[in-house]
């Protein structure tokens, strides 16, 4: 079944693919988040639009994950604003922003039921869900595990399922929060292959990582964060060959950046 087979007959549920449910560009302006007198995000301005894969790179504690959560409307900033397609974020458009967490949350259900849940969330008629879910699981090479309880999968399989489940809602943009940070090289490769496939389909991707190698392999554009600020943004080759900021240069060279 092609992607367009997602049915428009939604039984009263909002069809998430209508243009008025677009979320791009995702923007945040002058976003500030503070805790205990420290600014975790310090006046961040960013706009995610177009195509390709943006890597948000930086050391631990730079504010990368927090920024991703703010963009997805999972965290309300102390000040500043977030806009999806120039409008305030809302629940109806939420499924158009896929999110893969560092630690995948698996529903206490089978592998296929996890995907079906996501399909039902966008209003797919119940009888169409199983075949579409099998298709999506095929993308993650998990079809043979469809009936297995999701929480019994290995870490790598769970992350692939989380990615597949996120794709089930046909997101316009997919936010990935260090999806391979706790995985072995083989599992990381599988995740990166999936990410590359998704990028090839035209889905906008934003990947948070502190893995320089992964950033080099995947990034079209790099946003480098340090101490709650985006201190550098550049096309990937430029960033890695000639970083403008000292902190970025130190990070790329593997020196300790505090």
């Amino acid at each position: 079944m092609p992607d367009t087979a997602l049915c428009r007959d939604t039984g009263g549920v909002v069809d998430q693919r209508r243009p008025d449910h677009a979320v791009l560009p995702i923007e945040c302006r002058r976003v500030v988040v503070g805790r205990s007198g420290r600014r975790l995000l310090d006046g961040v301005d960013v706009s995610i639009d177009g195509t390709g894969l943006t890597v948000i790179l930086g050391p631990n504690g730079a504010g990368k994950t927090l920024l991703l959560r703010v963009l997805a409307n999972l965290f309300a900033p102390d000040s500043g604003e977030v806009r999806w397609a120039h409008l305030r974020p809302d629940r109806v458009r939420a499924p158009k922003i896929g999110f893969v967490f560092q630690k995948p949350m698996m529903l206490r259900r089978s592998v296929i039921a996890n995907v079906i849940y996501a399909l039902a969330a966008i209003g797919m008629p119940r009888h169409e869900c199983p075949s579409r879910a099998h298709e999506i699981l095929g993308l993650a090479s998990l079809d043979h595990l469809a009936g297995t309880p999701a929480r019994l999968l290995s870490g790598g399989e769970q992350q692939r399922l989380a990615l597949a489940r996120a794709l089930a809602t046909e997101p316009e943009v997919l936010l990935l929060d260090e999806p391979a940070s706790s995985l072995d090289p083989a599992a990381t490769l599988a995740i990166e292959k999936m990410i590359t496939t998704v990028r090839g389909r035209g889905t906008r991707l934003v990947l948070v990582t502190h893995d320089i190698g992964q950033a080099r392999r995947l990034a079209d554009t790099v946003l480098f964060m340090h101490r709650g600020r985006i201190v550098e943004r550049a096309p990937s080759p430029d960033f890695f060959e000639n970083p403008a900021q000292a902190a970025a240069r130190a990070f790329i060279e593997g020196r300790i950046v505090l």
């Binding site: 939420a94 999110f99 949350m105 259900r109 996120a166 809602t169």
Partner: protein
């Protein structure tokens, strides 16, 4: 001492031979308690899950009240239900006093806060884990309640079991609203109380054995179910 031994022997004979009188009392007890737990589940599960998921003014007071109601004294509940259902009471015209229905109502009132409070705690714990993912899917609060109730189903069996334990072992409320009428509203606990006061220890002991066995069996069944659910990572 000999008398006690004879009573035990007679009690086991009653149980072993499935004495019709004993069977009738046990069956009525189970019917009433299971109905009460069913009713409490219908109210308590969504109520507890709703309190876990939704945020509104006064929620904290409701949660504290619900927790406090877990310790409702059965005789007070019995008295209140009696006043409601008695001929002069607001629901007296229904003619429910001294019927099994009145006993179900009384037990359900006792059990609902237990089911709701334990559900709230269980669902709230799970919500912490699920919330971000469900928000990403754009799930409504009502959808979250449904999802969390379903995914917590094995854990919630413990809440229902606690409710059943309270219902089946309860005597104060059902004796007031049921009246302990032979072949009509006589259940295990009220019979044990009556027969003990009459000195008929064998039937009281026999029912005691059945009551304890039922409680242990229910606990064992739920534990087995939870163990198998945990093995499948569903609990």
């Amino acid at each position: 001492m000999q008398e006690l031994g004879a009573a035990f022997a007679e009690a086991f004979r009653l149980v072993a031979t499935l004495d019709p009188n004993l069977r009738e009392i046990v069956a009525l007890s189970l019917q009433i308690s299971l109905a009460a737990v069913g009713l409490a589940a219908l109210i308590g599960l969504p109520l507890g899950a709703g309190l876990a998921v939704m945020r509104f003014p006064g929620r904290g007071v409701l949660v504290v009240t619900l927790n406090a109601l877990m310790g409702l004294p059965p005789v007070v509940v019995g008295l209140l239900v009696y006043l409601l259902l008695s001929r002069a009471g607001p629901l007296g015209h229904l003619g429910l006093l001294y019927t099994p229905t009145a006993m179900v109502i009384a037990q359900a009132i006792l059990v609902t806060p237990i089911v709701a409070a334990l559900t709230r705690q269980t669902v709230e714990d799970m919500k912490e884990e699920y919330l971000d993912q469900l928000r990403v899917f754009g799930i409504t609060p009502l959808g979250m309640v449904k999802t969390l109730l379903w995914d917590a189903r094995y854990s919630l069996l413990t809440a229902l079991l606690a409710g059943f334990g309270r219902a089946v072992a309860e005597v104060g409320a059902v004796i007031i609203v049921g009246g302990n009428i032979n072949h009509v509203t006589r259940v295990m606990t009220t019979t044990i109380a009556l027969e003990t006061s009459k000195g008929n220890l064998s039937l009281a002991l026999g029912l005691g054995v059945v009551l304890v066995t039922i409680t242990i069996a229910a606990n064992a069944a739920v534990m087995a179910l939870r163990v198998s659910a945990r093995r499948l990572a569903y609990a």
